[in-house]
Symmetry: C2
Subunit: 221 residues, 2 copies
């Protein structure tokens, strides 16, 4: 396997573990232990950790360790506010044409949502949410916008997952299914502007529900 392919695998794997809370915020990611797990030396592991650090998912402290970062309420609000705007923009700025395979995939995601509703599970929810996000990414015609959107999504995904586990999971899943159904409908009529607006609305509503469960917003825990 090529060096870049290994790097991507390692990166995706670690990013996934962080965002699925296998490594919750505060976890120490030992370079040596990761190196032995993946059968490589510390060097390529450090290359991946450096990238994760540049993206704000981990923080390397000399003499201490590389720790998964937390996200405070202010930063979370800023990222969500920007994601709202970008979601809307993704519907208006040179969207990709809606092909039949896109519609099929949208229906497939809605079907997955139905299965999820029958067996609610936070981790499965997170995975489907990522698959749906990846789907929306592929509708974006502007690569720079897609890159920025992805960066922001993964920056707060773990906090979202951590918080909805404390909320009513069933209600969150229902809201998510409603978003996917609405997006699928808008796609069927080829209205990408509406898709952007729908996504923006749901990001906004999701954040409003999130805020209620954030530390500091409730007097008692």
């Amino acid at each position: 396997m090529s060096a870049e392919a290994r790097h991507q695998r390692l990166y995706s794997e670690l990013r996934g573990r962080i965002c699925l809370l296998d490594y919750p915020p505060g976890t120490k990611l030992g370079e040596e232990s990761l190196a032995s797990e993946f059968g490589v030396s510390r060097t390529p592991v450090r290359r991946v950790l450096a990238r994760l650090a540049d993206e704000g998912l981990v923080e390397a402290r000399h003499g201490v360790g590389t720790l998964v970062t937390d996200v405070d309420a202010r930063e979370l609000g800023e990222v969500y506010a920007l994601r709202e705007e970008l979601a809307q923009l993704s519907g208006t700025m040179t969207p990709r044409p809606v092909t039949q395979s896109v519609l099929d995939e949208a229906r497939g995601l809605v079907a997955e949502g139905e299965r999820l509703a029958e067996a609610p599970d936070a981790r499965a929810f997170a995975r489907l949410n990522m698959a749906y996000f990846d789907f929306t990414q592929r509708l974006i015609g502007n690569e720079a916008l897609a890159e920025v959107s992805e960066r922001l999504y993964f920056r707060t995904a773990r906090i979202w997952l951590k918080t909805i586990s404390a909320l009513d999971l069933g209600r969150e899943i229902e809201a998510f299914r409603e978003e996917m159904r609405q997006v699928a409908g808008a796609l069927a009529s080829g209205d990408m502007t509406a898709v952007g607006m729908i996504r923006r609305a749901h990001i906004s509503m999701s954040f409003h529900r999130l805020k209620a469960a954030l530390p500091g917003s409730r007097p008692a825990n």
Copy 2:
């Protein structure tokens, strides 16, 4: 000096050289030569080059070298289109309050623009443009938006500089001075929304002038 501070110095230095065309697109950045120049080993140099590669400014090819990347017309257009939107958003999304020191700094930049007009120079123009960009960055209250804006600015700054050197430099400087004057005026009245609109308009106009000089848009060279 701490390790992170050295990293930042090296990163800023190399990014500056790339964006000021000391290292034009296609230049090979030898890890060994950079290491000896800065008096360190290849390891911290590689750490910086990896970051620059993640940001798209260089591309490391195994067995060949680490080359400064070029930006094709499509990508340039996408980045500029997104920068337009973000400039407008920076005026509407929780801008920072306009203090007296901000107004002083704006006047200082306008004065620098006057000096530049008296002695036109592409490199001095690029430096002042960066200082002005940094100034606008500090008006943004949303850190995520600021981070994304910076990423996109530096992604195409070298192409902008390369192209305006072929255009009428005096006219470009005049347009730039006009933007700074308009922004200074809007700041004096505390209208951040207007600042965002002005910046968006000038990014748009700058790109339209840029397109005319891009390879492929003219039959003969």
